[in-house]
């Protein structure tokens, strides 16, 4: 907060704290300084830059109705009615209309279409300062989520007048996250307005942390405005510098961990996309250019299932992915089997024709999906448990959707390995791969096994589509983005070997992510590609070469 802003809001802020404390103590006589109704109307008419002042005056009235009004303002639910210019709170109804309530009394005042009201505008700056102001009002809320937001707001405003309030709240706060945020807010206030000793103490109190907020605070102390240091005291500055440096040293290790995680995450995505191909290309030797489209079909199946959930059972939405998985497997597997029976089986042993035919099929599938679902992206939602991230103590972020995809890809790999090694179908499949003639002589229906194998590979691609719909666009072009990478993984890992695909995907993912920070995404990709080409020159069969008669011939 700049000095100018502080001067502007200073007296009012003091009033607010006074009021906030007064609210904690019942029967205090906070009287309304101004009529809230007039102020609300004024808020509706004020330009964006003037709204802050009106909000400050509203808070100064100390009326309890202020909190819901400000919440509506921040949540973009505050409107002016076009017909008479009255300020109302609007809530969306299921019919796409708005249910209006009076902001002061909370009574309903009718339902209107969205074009009959005008939203009261806010911008990022106004919202964050209103949130900071609201922090003083909701810091004692029983809901920990709201307390956390309040504490974050206080951290942003870092207002000296709030210190007693923070101390009070800190004393009885039980929730670790809120406590953490409050301590940060306290340190931030001390850093900005405390005495030199207090500032030094605040710097030292941050020493054990590595989170971005505390690093921002410390690095601010080391900035210069023109020729003047922001932090006048040299000892404080030096301590801050040392603390920051030791934070960086500790972070360095964690960053490597983060890069590894990102690499494994990218690797798991590659693994999912490539696993199906490892079966169709690796095991059967079919160059399936339509593999990416199988992934896309899986993603679109997810979309269709989610639409059904949205209209039929919105409450069960979080389960939609569980239904989408088998559905996507089935859809892609059936399309795959149809492809194999209808086209590919006539082309065995003619790789060039297979390549062209499957490429043609991929175009047909893309354009079909484009005609049915339209060329634009489709919205696939994420269930609650896949949103957000785990903020570890060290200040690195592990996002949940990636975490689930890593776990999921390992599960799929395990399941496929089981099918390959432990079932009769898997045995037949391996037999056909190793020596087709001999397998046929042993009475294995090779034609049927081919179709089923192709179906399995395509079905797995479909499952991959469900996972990819969570992190990528669901558009007709989805598959194209993954086909090249998939082939790269399979060729690098060694044709015909699932563990090869696993090792290939993981090493490509990790190498890519370790290269990216210093080489950039574009150059990183090129370097990886060059490395693979060189590697294939050395070991044409990839990391794990399969031995067998079919391969040698």
């Amino acid at each position: 907060m700049s000095l100018r802003q502080w001067m502007r809001g200073g007296a009012l802020r003091f009033l607010m704290v006074f009021w906030a404390l007064a609210v904690l103590v019942p029967h205090s006589g906070a009287s309304a300084a101004e009529d809230l109704g007039t102020l609300v109307t004024e808020l509706g008419a004020a330009s964006l830059s003037k709204k802050q002042a009106v909000v400050d005056r509203m808070v100064a009235t100390g009326a309890p109705e202020v909190v819901p009004i400000l919440e509506a303002l921040v949540g973009r639910d505050l409107y002016t009615r076009k017909s008479d210019g009255v300020v109302v709170i609007g809530q969306k109804t299921s019919g796409g209309k708005l249910l209006l309530t009076d902001p002061l009394t909370g009574s309903e005042v009718g339902t209107v279409g969205s074009r009959e009201v005008k939203r009261i505008k806010t911008n990022n700056r106004l919202r964050s300062s209103v949130k900071a102001v609201m922090g003083t009002l909701t810091l004692m809320s029983p809901d920990p989520q709201r307390r956390l937001e309040a504490a974050d707001g206080l951290l942003k405003s870092s207002d000296q007048a709030m210190l007693p309030l923070i101390e009070t709240a800190l004393a009885k706060e039980a929730d670790a996250a809120v406590k953490n945020a409050l301590q940060l807010a306290k340190a931030s206030i001390k850093l900005q307005s405390g005495s030199a000793e207090e500032r030094l103490a605040a710097v030292q109190s941050l020493a054990d942390r590595t989170d971005p907020e505390s690093r921002v605070m410390l690095s601010r102390l080391l900035l210069k405005d023109g020729d003047v240091w922001r932090e006048p005291d040299e000892t404080v500055r030096e301590t801050a510098g040392e603390t920051l440096a030791s934070m960086e040293r500790r972070l360095e290790m964690w960053r490597t961990v983060e890069h590894l995680y990102q690499g494994i995450s990218l690797g798991s995505v590659l693994l999912l996309a490539a696993m199906g191909l490892a079966i169709t290309f690796g095991v059967m030797g079919v160059i399936n250019m339509a593999h990416g489209e199988m992934v896309m079909l899986g993603a679109y199946t997810t979309f269709v299932i989610q639409e059904a959930f949205r209209s039929l059972a919105p409450g069960l939405f979080d389960w939609s992915l569980a239904v989408a998985l088998p559905a996507a497997f089935l859809v892609s597997a059936l399309v795959g089997i149809a492809m194999e029976r209808g086209c590919i089986r006539f082309l065995y042993g003619r790789p060039l024709e297979t390549l062209l035919a499957t490429w043609g099929i991929s175009l047909v599938l893309q354009q079909t999906v484009r005609s049915i679902f339209g060329p634009t992206n489709r919205e696939v939602g994420a269930p609650e448990w896949m949103q957000g991230a785990m903020e570890s103590v060290a200040g690195i972020t592990l996002t949940y959707n990636r975490l689930w995809i890593i776990l999921f890809s390992f599960c799929v790999l395990g399941a496929v390995l089981l099918v390959m090694k432990k079932t009769a179908f898997g045995l037949q499949m391996r037999a056909v791969t190793q020596n087709r003639e001999m397998a046929r002589a042993m009475g294995i229906p090779t034609g049927r096994v081919d179709a089923m194998t192709f179906g399995l590979g395509s079905g797995i691609a479909g499952i991959a589509g469900v996972a990819l719909s969570q992190i990528d666009n669901v558009s007709p072009n989805l598959g194209q983005a993954y086909i090249v990478d998939s082939f790269m993984v399979v060729v690098f890992g060694g044709v015909g070997n699932l563990w090869g695909a696993f090792a290939g995907a993981m090493s490509l993912g990790i190498v890519n992510k370790l290269l990216e920070p210093w080489a950039g995404a574009v150059l990183g990709k090129i370097l990886v590609l060059v490395a693979i080409i060189l590697f294939i020159q050395k070991r044409p069969r990839g990391l794990f070469a399969l031995r067998g008669r079919a391969v040698e011939s």
Binding site: L48, S49, R76, R115, R119, K121, N123, N124, R125, R127, S128, K131, K156, P212, E213, R215, V216, M217, L218, S219, L222, L223, E258, Q262, S265, L266, V269, Q366, R370, G374, P375, T376, N377, R378, E379, G381, A382, Q387, G388, A389, E391, T397, T399, Y400, N401, R402, I471, D472, N473, S475, P476, N477, A481, K513, E516, P517, G520, A521, V522, K525
Partner: protein, 427 residues
Amino acid sequence: MGKLTKWKSALAATAFGLAATAGMGAAQAADTIKVGILHSLSGTMAISETTLKDAMLMLIDEQNKKGGLLGMKLEPVVVDPASDWPLFAEKARELISKDGVSVTFGCWTSVSRKSVLPVFEELNGMLFYPVQYEGEESSRNVFYTGAAPNQQAVPAVDYLLGEEGGEAKRIVLLGTDYVYPRTTNKILRSYLNAKGIADADIMENYTPFGHSDWQTIVAQVKEFASQGKKTAVVSTINGDANVPFYKELANQGIKAEDIPVVAFSVGEEELAGLDAGPLVGHLAAWNYFMSVDTPENDAFIKAWHAFIKDEKRVTNDPMEAHYIGFKMWVQAVEQAGTTDVDAVRQAMYGQTVKNLTGGVAVMNTNHHLSKPVLIGEILEDGQFEIVSATDDVVVGDAWSDFIPESAKLTADWTYPWVCGNCEKPRF
């Protein structure tokens, strides 16, 4: 495509005859005026360009209902260049010399425009290009109805640096690796330097088309932002890469209030394909937003919904650009009394059309429009709330003032200049 084949066969007989007389008011030989539509209906760019094809069909349809033009009906000639840049040039040639179109509306990516440019210049055709682009170009045969950098990028950065935008002191320039982001960022870097932001406070990063793994880059942005200065992101990330980018931002907990992202390629159409919840508060700069409340815009949206028969479809900035371009072309043809390219070009200068967002768009002699610049925040429903608008229209600048070698150049296609990139008048 049924419609397409129908007129194609009908036209086949006259096509060669038309080709022979092309350039001498060929279209007038037939009883219709042909309007070429050169937008990808398949391939990567179909996601954006299909809508523009539909918008053009609607505008032509409306004009025909009003009685056509010069007493003749307008006839759309739709071709599909399939997101294939060399095919754009082939299709453009086909439109001009085989189909004998009087004017063409089309292209989206800069590379497709660069690909058709020689064709339009060689055959003296007329192209209306509706998308915001990197500038540094002015062709005699192209009218640029989208924003030049000074009508989008520069005002957006001004907003971020200003008090309302949060007074950013560090800027991250993220872009897809091709000509538009690279040129725009070159302009922005020298603009930021001029505004007192040192190179150390600017991070520039490019990613391939369709980049989907944003973990590292978002983490880098977070890191860059934790150096004690307010940081904002300027994104020229194109097309499909945006969805995973914003998802990663949201998942890593970056809020618009902490690190706002202002995008130049994200509009209503792009947001329609994703859950906008995590994006709320991030910004975009355009000359048009669907949420603008004017009678013209209401009428346009209503007509669009009626034409496309889907209440959920959105309108966006390039659609408005086509709207303005088409209206201007119609007015210019009426004024010139012919569809002859040279006559219409002369009549285009100074044409005015009411913007859908209020105010009046003017066609300048550098073939760029004067348009207002709006900055909007993304809302939950995928629409934008306007948080800043220029007081008046901004004149599109073909050559940026912030690139030293370009600042010297002038584009003016009227006497005495008659040049797209000259340092002094030719006459």
